[in-house]
Amino acid sequence: MFRFDNEAIGYQGVTILNGISLDIKAGEKVALVGESGAGKSTLLMALQSRNRTNSAFIPQNPGLVRTLSVFHNIYMGSLSQHSTFYNLLNLIWPQKKEIALISPIVEKLGLIDKLFDRSGELSGGQQQRTAVCRALLQGGEAVLGDEPVSAVDNHQSRIIIQALCDSFETVVLAMHDVELALEYSTRIIGIKNAKIALDAPTNSLLRSDLDFLYTA
């Protein structure tokens, strides 16, 4: 699904990660862990650019158009599935069919009463859930999420991650919450000092095995 072979990964001409070798197979649920600034986002973006057609992406800034409603932001996940005319029609007059399609997803994440609010006026957590909904609507083989639950509570986090794991065969999420990472992933990749410092199946790891990633 995603494959890197001893590659340097950078951003705007600056190399951030060195000697990355990685092979993520279909069906894996991967958690990316490491200190903030370690390069998790960079790695995710590199993954996305490898396989854009089949993967949905949830960036850390939720990537919303602030002036558009929650509904339209979510609908954007399916722009490629409709004709341009239909897209514009739905932009002016939200179509019943699309509302019917989007409502259950929104319902599950507890945003239904905000469906036609401007996304820019929502709280950080609500914006994050909107971005998750967009990815869920878009679908595909894989989802790449950059801290998709950083601004929501524990209970919501579990709902969101469960929903992502149910909808996508392959899941790669950068996470700061080690407990959640251990709970939902099948494989953990730890990043430290611009390198992959840990790459192991989750069931072989203990909580304490991850501590070294967060110490100097």
Partner: protein, 515 residues
């Protein structure tokens, strides 16, 4: 004549040579350079007050302004509505076409065409269109729409270019560029475009009013009459109503009502004579062909030698003195605008004045920036007689008030330490250093605007390029007028690129409304 020619040539060479410098001078050196140039220009500028007794007339004008007569203009309501209607139609068409041009702005031809149409002032467009279409509503609408399309295209394109919304990264592959544009790009910049367009509408109102000076049925028509006949109470009433119109914009220019306005406006322009197509053809195939070439055998050397004489006469006797006067006036007005801005902006800043002082300052600035420079210059000309002085004062007051307003607002956002100094020390040590970059950026943006206005003030009798254009128009010599307008446009494009050059080298912010 020879001295100012040499001086202007020296200025131009100086500006052009800047490119070859290895290190670009600092903002301080550049500012000083402009001041030195302006002082040099003063030597050649005619600043005399020729009126023997300007005070009597000024007193009469002052009396008029405290006793405005709102009933003097018959149909004042209709006149105001027509002024709005022309602005509405002109700006709407300009913004509409500007929006589409912005999508293809990367094409060099489009970029150059836009630079060209906006380098020609609305009044010049109106004078040209009067010849082609005559006194019809379309003349006024297009005179605003054509240059505004060029301006809007540029600003919209820059806005779109600067916006790189994060959402672009997450859109599924194959979303289609039209869908992406309307879902992701446009909503991201919509607020900027909306704000800029409503600012353009305010400019459009000023343009619309000024077009009355050459015969369209807007407020300027009656304002010109009232001023030239010395009916200052009537003139005051018209000006006050115009300020009212602009100050109340945010109360009646509501997005919800816009649709209604746009549909109604074309029907409120008033009637005009019908447009005849043969006039349009004649304009392009005969009127603008240089007289020595018109209906003459192009195979004869005689024809071409008389054309050379014609060209020489036009370039040496008219374009050259026109360019010199335009440049002199522009450079002086630019520096005066700068000084005035620095003096005026504290008036509306909470760092310097309390609420009462700021309110008075705001009022002063609103009046100064709402009055079109053309009308300000006209008033000062009536008072002082024709020299460069009325033009310099009018241009500095109007543009100074506009920049002071922006800088004043910007200074409000500065956060100062609690024990910062007060008064002049605060101004010199804390505020000025912080706003100076912004200030220079705005000033460089206005450079080209000031130059365009300077040219236009020639219509009022100051010997800039506009004077010679107006004279050619008065003689119905459109071939001459068009060539001089072309020269004016080229000079303007030159100043515009020079200004861009300075801004980029001084790393001045680009995120500013230009106009």
């Amino acid at each position: 004549m020879r001295l100012p020619t040499a001086y202007c040539a020296a200025i131009l060479i100086f500006f052009t040579r800047l490119k070859s410098l290895s290190t670009f001078p600092t903002a301080r050196t550049v500012s000083l350079g402009f001041v030195v140039v302006a002082v040099g220009c003063l030597v050649f500028a005619d600043l005399s007050i020729t009126t023997l007794d300007p005070w009597t007339e000024m007193k009469r004008m002052g009396m008029g302004f405290v006793t405005p007569n709102f009933f003097a203009v018959t149909n004042i309501g209709k006149v105001m509505i027509q002024t709005i209607a022309f602005a509405m139609c002109g700006v709407a068409l300009g913004a509409f076409f500007g929006f589409f041009l912005a999508q293809v702005f990367h094409i060099a031809l489009v970029r150059w065409s836009c630079a060209f149409v906006r380098a020609i002032h609305e009044l010049f467009w109106a004078l040209i269109l009067l010849q082609i279409l005559g006194l019809t509503p379309l003349t006024g609408v297009l005179a605003i729409a054509i240059p505004y399309a060029g301006i809007c295209a540029k600003v919209y394109a820059e806005t779109l270019e600067e916006s790189q919304p994060a959402v672009l990264q997450v859109l599924p592959a194959g979303s289609g560029i039209v869908s992406i544009f309307f879902f992701a790009r446009l909503p991201d910049v919509w607020v900027h475009i909306k704000n800029y367009t409503s600012y353009r509408f305010e400019c459009g109102l000023r343009s619309s009013a000024v077009l009355g000076f050459i015969g369209l049925p807007t407020m300027g028509f009656y304002l010109e009459t009232a001023f030239s006949e010395g009916n200052y109470s009537e003139a005051a009433a018209l000006l006050l109503l115009f300020y009212g119109l602009i100050a109340s914009l945010r109360f009646w220019l509501k997005p919800r009502l816009l649709g209604f306005y746009l549909v109604a406006a074309p029907f409120l322009l008033g009637e005009g004579a019908s447009i005849r197509f043969d006039n349009v053809i004649r304009f392009f195939t005969s009127d603008i062909v240089p007289a020595p070439l018109r209906d003459h055998d192009l195979a004869l050397t005689q024809t071409w030698s008389s054309f050379a004489d014609w060209l020489q006469m036009l370039l040496i006797d008219q374009a050259l003195p026109g360019i010199i006067a335009t440049l002199l006036l522009t450079q002086i007005a630019l520096v005066c605008t700068g000084f005035l801005t620095l003096a005026l902006f504290p008036l509306i800043s909470d760092k310097f004045f309390g609420k009462l002082g700021r309110t008075i300052g705001q009022l002063l600035l609103i009046v100064l920036r709402s009055t079109p420079e053309f009308i300000l210059a006209y008033i000062f000309l009536q008072l002082w007689g024709p020299s460069m002085l009325p033009a310099i004062v009018a241009l500095s007051l109007h543009n100074g008030a506009i920049i002071a307003h922006l800088i004043g607002r910007y200074s409000q956002s500065l956060v100062l330490r609690a024990d910062s100094p007060k008064g002049f020390n605060l101004y010199g040590y804390e505020i000025l250093p912080r706003v100076y970059g912004q200030f220079l950026a705005f000033l460089f943006y206005r450079w080209e605007v000031i130059m365009r206005e300077t040219a236009i003030l020639g219509i009022l009798g100051i010997a800039t390029l506009g004077f010679f254009i107006d004279s050619a128009m008065a003689d119905i010599r459109l071939d001459r007028a068009i060539l001089l307008i072309l020269i004016t446009a080229i000079l303007n494009i030159f100043i515009d690129s020079l200004s861009r050059y300075f801004r980029s080298h001084l790393r001045l912010s680009q995120q500013i409304e230009s106009s």
